[in-house]
């Protein structure tokens, strides 16, 4: 019965202990977890534990850049001739680089937001058509067929104003089939204000034919991107019915204009799709080359000539074919990494955080200052504590109380005067300012005195009789006997110095004198809210000390027990 009760009590103890432990280490675990994530994973809600940085392959969200503007706005996409060409003629008439396809990589799939792709590993780029099959391209394109189609569609009338204008504009490109195709699709589907844009085009039709077809037409407003061929065919069917129903001649005229628009587009599109006869037989496999914009072609169909990358985009240049044949296609990009590349991905945030501020200098400064402070502290504090404990001289206890009283004064209170004093010594921005004022600590003196008090006076007397000086007794007998407390004191001063912030902030003003906390604070200010890198920086400033101290924590405990505060 009683044992049963005790078990229940222990159960509650453990529940409480686990809750407290989660409260204590949960944030640290979350910090380390975040430091390995990609940008898009950090900015995802709900938060997740895992990261694709640990995986050997990932799917990247990618788009083919289909617009005229997108093609010509990227100067790095221009070949030299094309660049010169673009300078000599007006912008709209130039096709930036007709043989190069630009693919915009948005980041890891499944997550919101954009992310930069790691510039390592291999990319497997597959161009696929609407149905999910590999995309195809023409092998022997006949210009005469092209001219025939252009003539055919030019003869279609009546057309709506937009289309009419677009066709007359397009006539200037008839000499270059590629420019014609790009501009045609730009006008009709992919440009900034395309003719077959889902919302506008359907709204125009709704205004025109009104009630009986409202429901049927409205359903086409759902969906993403411009209207597809299938949808356009269905719409032309509906318009055909509407044409039969209306009696108003001007409405009839308008409807037939729209019908012709669609027919024109579908005719041209049929010709375009019909030309694509050869399938791309295998995915394009590209490998990053370190410190280079060029991509190595690992495995690719024969039409691929070269590939390079810039920013978030990759560019693939074709032999004897043009990117305009892939305008209606989609792209899927998969990235593969070997073991080392996975490791590099995994610690990517650490590397970029470390490189974006002089953390090496901060680390050195922190270690140097903390070690120097600790060593001086041990020497000075041991001496003072020994004098208070074992030596006799007038005013001993009064001085001791005066030293202990300084524990009550926070150093921030004295920082103004201290700044002026250190300034008058010329120590601002030097190691002296960080070390010397902290080389004696009243709390450590108090701890050590307690410990020395527990050494019997007889031992000291015996040593004196044997001819040992007080100095020798101190370092050969008293100090070894009080080792745990001295280690505790050393750890306390090391930690105090390592974590000191306001003092260092005020006493230093250049990067090469800053210690880690102030350096980290500067990094926060300069880098903005990139939390994965910030957490990486927090981790590498925090973790070494945390781990070291967790191993040494028994000295903290034993130090408090032995001499501590009773």
């Amino acid at each position: 019965m009683k044992r049963q009760k005790k078990k229940i009590v222990y159960f509650f103890y453990y529940v409480a202990a686990v809750i407290l432990a989660i409260f204590a280490i949960g944030p640290i675990v979350w910090m380390v977890d975040t430091s390995f994530k990609t940008n898009s994973e950090v900015l995802s809600y709900p938060p997740s534990w895992g990261t694709i940085n640990a995986l050997p392959s990932r799917t990247l969200t990618a788009d083919i850049i289909k617009t005229r503007a997108g093609q010509s706005s990227n100067p790095s996409a221009l070949s030299l001739e094309a660049l010169l060409g673009s300078l000599s003629t007006t912008q709209t008439t130039t096709l930036a680089s007709p043989d190069t396809i630009a693919i915009h990589i948005l980041g890891a799939s499944g997550y919101r937001g954009t992310g930069t792709m790691p510039r390592r590993g291999t990319l497997i780029v597959s161009l696929i058509d609407d149905t999910g099959n590999p995309a195809s391209y023409p092998t022997n394109f006949s210009t005469s067929d092209f001219n025939k189609v252009v003539n055919e569609i030019s003869s279609i009338s009546p057309l709506s104003n937009d289309v009419e204008q677009s066709i007359s504009n397009l006539s200037q490109y008839t000499s270059s089939s590629q420019a014609y195709i790009l501009n045609f699709y730009d006008d009709f589907l992919y440009g900034s204000n395309p003719i077959f844009s889902r919302i506008n085009f359907i709204s125009n039709l709704l205004n025109l034919v009104g009630n009986p077809f409202q429901d049927q037409l409205t359903s086409f407003k759902k969906g993403i991107g411009p209207l597809t061929d299938v949808e356009l065919k269905a719409i032309s069917q509906i318009l055909g019915n509407a044409l039969d129903l209306t009696t108003n001649p001007s409405t009839k005229m308008k409807i037939s204009e729209y019908l012709n628009d669609i027919k024109l587009y579908l005719d041209f599109n049929q010709f375009y799709e019909g030309q694509k006869r050869t399938k791309i037989d295998q995915p394009i496999e590209l490998a990053f080359i370190p410190k280079s914009n060029q991509l190595k072609i690992v495995k690719a169909p024969s039409i691929v000539q070269s590939a390079y990358t810039s920013g978030d985009q990759i560019y693939i240049t074709f032999k004897n074919t043009s990117f305009v044949w892939f305008l209606n296609d989609n792209v899927s990009v998969k990235a593969n990494y070997n073991f080392w590349e996975v490791l590099t991905n995994f610690f990517d945030n650490y590397v970029s955080a470390w490189n974006s501020a002089p953390f090496g200098i901060y680390y050195f400064n922190s270690i140097f200052v903390a070690l120097a402070t600790t060593i001086l502290n041990i020497i000075f504090d041991v001496m003072m504590a020994f004098a208070f404990s074992k030596l006799t001289f007038p005013g001993r206890d009064k001085i001791f109380i005066a030293i202990i009283a300084t524990m009550m004064i926070p150093y921030q209170v004295l920082i103004v005067a201290n700044y002026l004093i250190i300034h008058s010594f010329g120590w601002i921005n030097s190691y002296y300012a960080l070390i010397i004022p902290w080389s004696a600590t009243s709390f450590v003196i108090f701890l050590m005195r307690q410990s020395f008090n527990s050494i019997p006076n007889d031992l000291y007397d015996a040593a004196k009789i044997d001819g040992a000086s007080s100095w020798r007794f101190l370092w050969t007998i008293a100090v070894p006997l009080s080792m745990p407390v001295i280690i505790t004191g050393a750890l306390l001063t090391f930690l105090g110095s390592w974590n000191s912030f306001l003092w260092v902030l005020i006493m230093t003003d250049t990067a090469n004198m800053r210690t880690l906390p102030v350096g980290l604070q500067n990094f926060i200010i300069n880098s903005g809210a990139i939390f994965n890198q910030l957490m990486a920086a927090a981790t590498f400033t925090m973790i070494p000390v945390v781990i070291a101290f967790l191993f040494l924590q028994k000295y903290f405990v034993s130090g408090f027990f032995r001499s501590g505060i009773k």
Partner: protein, 424 residues
């Protein structure tokens, strides 16, 4: 001769540490006191003696909405109300419901004083005469009731808390616009130093009791768990080791409004996201949560060392007598632990008054998101000294901080002195 040599050796041992204490503690203490009487931002570049005007400047109140004395009157009435109710309550506990007649006087006075709160317009009774009357009544009452109360004497903290509680009740019943508290808050809107005192006290009041509570729980758990003691000790202690800048950075991420883990955890309980870092009223609580997390393991270890020092025999004796865990805690652990509790209270209080870095990092070098809601006293000193270069003013503010810490520590010493029980 020999004796003098011995003395000299003693002093020689002191010299290195003493020089450092004199140069960087005692002398700065004197020097900043001296500085606090000077204006250092003069056009000529020379400091000018200005007497107490730095201190006067710090407490400049500006235009008051009503005279200080009016606020005092209102607060005083509320205080008496709280005091009388508390006294009644305590005397009730003291006699456990018996001897009602003896304690009748306070019971009769309560309704009268309560009515005075419902009619907050004091002029109803003719202002100042009324206050004098209350003074007299108050004096008689105190003398009459406190005289024989042992229970009250042994539970001073509880009594003070009860007064505070009833004061808050009175504050919310009556006219909230007129009160010392309200007046103080209104002054703080115009005077950033008073604002900083306000914020610091707010922080201390949240931080210190909760830290002590949690660290005591941690200490008890570390002592009583049969297995995995070291694991839990390590876990609790880990936050203390990390630098406060890194820790604040970490909590900047945890507190993030959109993607922070806190708001995510709150969403499990159907609580809508809290804008931790961008709300003036939440500034100090946010900082307090961080500070509690950072320090509870350290104070927990100190509690643990105190608990280890309690003689096991007391518990064995209590067990034979059939005491349960709660009784053992109340009658053995708590009294014998009181020196440690006192030590932790003093240290955590002094520590809490120094809050600065957390605010500095969390709010991007600014004192809070807006309206100076995170301006603590050390932040004020830092800002006046480092950004505004007003050494004299900063020194005066520093001395006031020091004074507040000293006074509070002394009060703690005095109130806890009698109750701290030492190991036999």
């Amino acid at each position: 001769m020999h004796k003098r040599n011995k003395y000299i050796i003693g002093y020689l041992y002191l010299i290195p540490a003493l020089v450092i204490f004199i140069l960087f503690t005692y002398w700065p203490a004197i020097y900043s006191f001296y500085l606090s009487f000077f204006n250092t931002t003069t056009s000529t570049g020379h400091a000018i003696f200005v007497g107490l005007s730095n201190y006067v400047y710090l407490f400049k109140t500006g235009q008051l909405p009503y005279p200080f004395f009016t606020a005092f009157e209102y607060s005083f009435v509320r205080f008496i109300f709280a005091f009388v109710i508390s006294i009644t309550l305590f005397s009730w506990i003291e006699v456990k419901g018996k001897h009602l007649l003896k304690n009748m006087i306070p019971l009769i006075l309560i309704p009268i004083l309560a009515i005075s709160l419902i009619y907050p317009s004091l002029s109803f009774w003719g202002g100042d005469i009324y206050i004098v009357l209350l003074w007299v009544l108050f004096g008689i009452l105190t003398f009459y009731t406190v005289r024989k109360m042992d229970f009250l004497k042994s539970h001073t903290t509880l009594f003070l808390l009860s007064i505070l509680g009833f004061y808050i009740v009175a504050y919310y019943i009556g006219n909230r616009n007129i009160d010392l508290y309200t007046l103080f808050f209104k002054i703080a809107q115009n005077n950033s130093f008073i604002m900083s005192i306000w914020n610091t006290f707010y922080f201390v009041i949240i931080d210190v009791p909760i830290t002590i509570g949690i660290s005591l729980a941690a200490g008890l758990l570390m002592k009583n768990l049969p297995f995995f003691k070291v694991f839990f000790r390590t876990a609790f202690f880990a936050p203390y080791v990390a630098s406060i800048v890194a820790v604040s950075l970490l909590w900047l991420w945890l507190f993030n409004y959109h993607y922070g883990i806190f708001n995510f955890i709150l969403s499990w309980f159907g609580i809508s996201p809290i804008n931790w870092l961008n709300s003036a009223s939440l500034t100090m609580p946010t900082v307090a949560i961080l500070s509690i997390w950072e320090y509870f393991g350290y104070y927990g270890l100190i509690f643990l060392s105190g608990l280890q020092n309690i003689d096991q025999e007391y518990y064995e004796a209590a067990e034979i007598e059939g005491a349960n865990s709660f009784q053992k805690f109340m009658y053995i652990t708590w009294p014998l632990l009181s020196p440690i509790t006192f030590f932790v209270m003093v240290v955590s209080l002094i520590n809490a008054f120094q809050v600065f870095t957390q605010v500095y990092v969390l709010y991007n070098q600014m004192p809070g998101p807006y309206a100076n809601s995170g301006l603590t006293m050390v932040f004020y000193i830092y800002n006046t000294f480092y950004n505004e270069q007003q050494m004299g003013l900063a020194s005066a503010a520093a001395y006031i901080l020091l004074g507040i810490i000293m006074v509070l520590t002394l009060i703690q010493f005095r109130t806890t002195e009698k109750r701290v029980e030492y190991n036999i």
